[in-house]
């Protein structure tokens, strides 16, 4: 099954992450929101309120799962138990795509619960491509890889991060979850050109965009998802929409989570910017169909 044939993935509009603080408001009042993203791992449990809550959410909104534990770049074999539980959840949820990060998160039987960056090398690309193919085939669902924020530069890297991401997406025939905040954080931390990053990512593979806030730690930026989206990231978002067209967009806010109205207004800002860029004539999303 070719990814290009899956370009029928629709534009869900602008959504937000489904977080505990907002459960009562969202589930009881069903406020206007285009869609929600859920952290997959939080729902890979036997039963109880987590599954009941996501079931109620699913009845009212489109819901897309986003993982943090796949460790697609890890050297350990893929975790079969994790994949089986993820597939069962995904089959039940029936989302248009599934995503996780271009990173690694453990080795030798240990999980470090961190989105650790990978060296940008041809060998790493080949390693990840093979694993993405296996994951995508196992889940029987379009799979997208997200670029992570990074705070470390590897001596052995031989290419830019966007080259690694693009190479993997093309060879593995998967989608890209383009996180504009992560592009910005990494560009500041490693003094790289964020615009060049956005421009280099294959637009027809971007199925989702992430927006979030970060924290300035003085000598580096930390991806904390604890604040408003900054102006520079909004600009990157406009650039990304200009290139990619109407792509499903998600505002993440995971720490110091504000009241619903604040989060909802952040999503509304994204919606306004997106509409403005698209009204200026951004290309509609290309749909390629093989003869």
């Amino acid at each position: 099954m070719s990814f290009r044939k899956r370009h029928g993935i629709g534009d869900l509009g602008v959504g937000v992450g489904f977080r505990t603080k907002h459960y009562p408001h969202v589930l009881e009042t069903k406020p206007a929101m285009d869609w929600f993203e859920v952290i997959s791992e939080n729902f890979l449990v036997a039963g109880g309120p987590p599954r009941a809550n996501v079931e109620r959410l699913k009845d009212a909104y489109p819901v897309v799962p986003h993982g943090v534990s796949l460790s697609i770049g890890g050297n350990a074999p893929l975790d079969d138990d994790y994949l089986r539980r993820l597939k069962a959840f995904v089959d039940w949820l029936d989302p248009p795509w599934v995503s996780d990060h271009l990173c690694w998160g453990g080795a030798a039987g240990l999980h470090i619960h961190e989105l650790l960056p990978l060296p940008h090398t041809e060998a790493v690309a080949a390693h990840v491509v093979e694993r993405v193919k296996r994951v995508q085939g196992f889940l029987e669902r379009p799979f997208a890889l997200e670029n992570v924020s990074s705070y470390m530069t590897f001596r052995e890297s031989t290419m830019q991060e966007w080259e690694l991401l693009s190479t993997i997406a093309e060879r593995a025939d998967c989608g890209i979850l383009l996180d504009c905040n992560n592009v910005y954080v990494s560009s500041r931390n490693h003094t790289i050109d964020a615009d060049a990053y956005i421009d280099a990512v294959p637009a027809d593979r971007v199925v989702q965009i992430h927006l979030a806030g970060h924290t300035d730690k003085g000598k580096y930026l930390l991806d904390t998802h604890s604040d408003h989206v900054c102006d520079a990231v909004w600009k990157l978002y406009e650039r990304a929409i200009g290139r990619c067209g109407a792509v499903s967009t998600l505002v993440e806010w995971d720490d110091d989570i504000p009241e619903w109205d604040v989060l909802s207004e952040e999503a509304a800002t994204a919606r306004r910017l997106r509409a403005s860029v698209l009204s200026r004539g951004a290309s509609p999303r290309p749909v390629e169909v093989r003869p």
């Binding site: 309120p49 009941a52 961190e114 650790l116 060998a123 390693h127 093979e130 931390n189 000598k219």
Partner: protein, 279 residues
Amino acid sequence: MSPAPPSLVELQTSLMDLLRRDASLSTDADASARAAEIATGNDRLTGVEQVDIYREQYFLRHVGALREDFESLAALLGEDGFDALARAYLSAHPPTSFTLRDLGHALPAFVAERAPWRDDALVADMARLEWAFVDAFDAADATKIELAAIASMPEDAWPLARVRLHPSVQLVEMAHVAEDYRSQARKLLAGEISELPRPEPGPRYIVVFRGSEKLKYIDVDRGAFALLAALRDGHALGDACERAAATAEMTEQTFQEALGGWFQSWTSWGWITALERAG
């Protein structure tokens, strides 16, 4: 599937060791040298400092996750005391599950065995109680059966029948009257009270369970607790009753008199999901 490139295995193995170190990498010459071999650094941070960002995040994330699951332990031990416990625990039990939900699974046993925490029974009490809440919260769903279904079983089938408890039912024997300590600890952490009185000595026999999607707990008789434990462990009802009566030091008559009331309560609380006849 072909193996990972050797350089990637080497790099990740080395980083896993460095990131779990309990002190800044700059304090250890060997660790610093290894980090510098991996990361280039930039005009603001050395390679060692870059790797150290991830090491700090490892402890912040995992100590924070343990603090969320063990709130009353955090209140009991204080900021620094809990931090010391969490770091010792992470060293002995590094995370092996893909989910942080499982991180504290071995903490109750850890504090019961390891000095100095083993010297305070309240620490073990609260660790067991709080982990019971974690396990009850997302245990599998199951449909409860009504008392009438139990009452309809012929009397001669009872001794060999097996009673299935709801997966959320967790049994916690405590040495202190501390089942309310958690709610008091939350008030302390929220600044609503200024002191957390130490609970009186027990014993207490607490059952934690999920009812109507909410976590609940109740203190039960020693005999009831012993019977629930025997049923949970898979003993047939007759055998379970004998074991429970002996454990609770109850006569057969007093045990039998209490049994009907216990089952009435347990079914009303949704603790029983099946009554299976032998054969």
